[in-house]
């Protein structure tokens, strides 16, 4: 048992930290938020060409680095820490997680190569209301064409490749779709958190060929289910980063800010708030790292779906509460300036809120855990 980063993992983390410190400054984030695609093209070029983050979890034989979720989580935590606006999550944590689990096929081959080359991708698994659970009315395949609307798609307005979850009769099908055709209409959604772009996608009688198909039936169900768990773990990593920076910037601010002739950091109530944040933050980080290990074990067939679900729910629910709490306390400790658009803490607050609600609020996760504990099996 070695529940800490290896030297190599620490190096990956440090390099990522330096990189986001350099490229994802407050000014850069604000520019990206208002940009066309919601991210800076040049930064993405550097991520894919210099740092090769997109290759991280691709198998070595397919030309990737052959690393796993522990390393991916290390990157995503750093991305969250500096509010990186990037199609990286959609590409690496959503599309690639699905593709890696699909059987060999021309579509898979095409997609992996495109991603390795630096193209962006995402997973389309929602319906027109943004639902992602069993109630979702996914786009449908009828008479060989794809029809339907998916909303709240991470970077769905600009991703160059789409892995689409669709229904064909009663079966789930995973498709690889290039949105560069007239039968696919897309738009960016106006979101409260402007650092993570969501898109709405309409498929309008898009004709499908065999080459589009990645897999179907029970296998597709299993892959999609696992993808949502992996996405929850990835989001937890982002939130741990958000919480860390919300704490760090608040700790910095309160040591400068003087009220009643003292730094506000010297008030015990303020100190204790910071201690409470740190408790939640470090606990989230522990459950995140555990979940990342389980993710790798699941992908290597060494852990069950139940173990993956449990770890994902714990990590995601903890990180959700830690990030929202850390950012909320952060605003409070910044006082008046905390609610101005000039300071970044409000951006952390909005990202924390968006991520908290992504794929299940904490009480949804708790109820799922309760069913496992009280009615079913838990790992």
């Amino acid at each position: 048992m070695e529940f800490r980063f290896t030297e190599e993992q620490l190096m990956i983390q440090d390099m990522a930290a330096s990189f986001v410190d350099e490229v994802s400054t407050s000014e850069a984030v604000r520019a990206a938020m208002l940009s066309d695609k919601g991210y800076d093209e040049e930064t993405w070029q550097r991520i894919t060409q210099e740092l090769c983050w997109q290759a991280l979890t691709i198998d070595e034989e397919a030309g990737g680095l052959g690393l796993g979720y522990v390393e991916l989580v290390a990157l995503l935590e750093q991305a969250g820490r500096k509010l990186l606006c990037s199609p990286f999550f959609g590409t690496a944590c959503l599309a690639l997680s699905a593709l890696k689990q699909c059987p060999v096929s021309p579509a898979k081959q095409t997609a992996i190569e495109a991603i390795l080359a630096g193209q962006t991708a995402t997973l389309v698994h929602t319906d027109s209301a943004g639902r992602w659970d069993d109630s979702a009315q996914l786009p449908c395949i009828k008479s060989g064409a794809l029809e339907g609307i998916a909303s709240h798609v991470v970077n769905g307005d600009s991703a160059e490749w789409l892995v689409v979850a669709a229904r064909e009769n009663d079966a789930l099908v995973l498709l690889l779709v290039s949105p560069a055709c007239p039968q696919v209409k897309r738009r960016a959604l106006t979101t409260m958190d402007q650092t993570r772009r969501l898109g709405g996608i309409q498929f309008n009688q898009l004709p499908l060929e065999a080459a589009h198909r990645l897999c179907e039936g029970e296998l597709a169900e299993r892959i999609l289910a696992a993808c949502l768990e992996l996405a929850r773990i990835g989001a937890a990593a982002d939130m741990v980063g958000v919480a860390q920076q919300a704490l760090d910037s608040s700790v910095g601010y309160i040591q400068e800010r003087v009220q009643f002739g003292r730094t506000i950091a010297s008030f015990q109530a303020v100190k204790h708030k910071c201690a409470d944040v740190m408790l939640k933050l470090e606990s989230s980080r522990s459950s995140l790292y555990y979940a990342a290990c389980i993710a790798d074990e699941y992908l290597a067939n060494h852990a069950s779906m139940a173990a993956l679900q449990e770890a994902a729910s714990i990590a995601n629910a903890y990180a959700s509460e830690a990030a929202f709490f850390a950012a909320g306390v952060g605003i409070q400790l910044h006082g008046g300036v905390g609610i101005t658009s000039e300071y970044d803490i409000q951006l952390y607050f909005k990202r924390a809120r968006a991520l908290e609600a992504y794929l299940g609020l904490p009480h949804w996760h708790r109820e799922r855990l309760a069913s496992m504990l009280l009615e079913g099996d838990v790992a």
Partner: protein, 397 residues
Amino acid sequence: MKLSFSAADEAFRVEVAQWLQDNLTGEFEHIRFRGGPGDEHVFVEERKRWEQRLAEGGWTCIAWPEAFGGKQATIEQQVIFNEEYARAGGPGRVGHIGETLMGPTLIEFGTPEQQAKYLPGIRAGREYWCQGYSEPGAGSDLGNVKTRAVFDEATQQWRINGQKVWTSLAHESHYCFVVARTDPNQVGHKGLGFFMVAMDQLGVTIRPIEQLTGTAEFNEVFFDDAVCAADDILGAPGQGWAVAMALLGYERGVSTLGQQMLFQNELDEIIRVAKTNGTSQDPSIRQRIAEAHMGLKTMRYNSMRMLSGAEGSQLNREAMIYKLYWSSWHRNLGKLAMDVMGEQAEILEAAPYELNRLQSMFLFTRADTIYGGTNQIQRNLIAERALGLPREPRGQS
């Protein structure tokens, strides 16, 4: 102890409701329910006309003595007016600060000349006031005022220099009441003056502060050799702290019941959304909706006790908990609203950053626990003043 209002009070309620129904319509229809906290920047011109309509009906400054144009309304009548006003969707009052803060303070501390100069404009809904208490470096620490006022013997005017912040409606206001240091050798609560400063002069500059909502309800106000007539100091130089504190005392009171009606509107909207999108079936959401409902009812009972027990502007134990209570409750309501909205919570009304009412409320409630004394300051006040625990030591800066 009795809960019911007298027959006369109920008749008064009917009168208020009827007048609002007859008047808050036509040109004012679209400003109903608008201009509240977090929304203070909208429809300002219409809301000013509305102030004048209210004044014509005799519905401004009803708590003032009749001698100053008021109705000398009882606490019960004030409660009723505020309740009916909120129930009818009466828009956020541009004249609020003049009517509820500056007016009573002028009536208590002003000379007859000052009263004659300022009160009629407030009463008529034509002259608006804004506050000049907070400063960028001071925050919750009002004793740490850096703005200076120097009496210029040559012009027989005060010259004011400094900066104030978190000033609502500064652009729309004719006057600002400014706490400034008149004696540079004094610190803390000593050597302060309370000035009534005209906003329309070269020495006053206003800079809006953009909030996390993308809107700008607050401003910074810069005083750069702004002038103030010798007669426009309220109380004597050095008496500023006493006047400023008396003014803050008026902040708590009957308007709380009107505020609660706004909160009720928000909660009703949340319940409507929950019923529509099915989150009303989620047991955790149900617990939180019930908690919000209980909390709001209890807020009302707290106010009723506070108002029944309050003597003038005197603070009582119950009153001290009020700010901490409502700000915490409202912040939780904001979070509940988002969780009830579900997937739609994240999607705004329109580009570039148009929030719906509940989204705006969610974000703006993060300010509630900060302005007017942070929750930390409120807990200090409760512990020190209501429970008699030791005061926080002041540092040596």
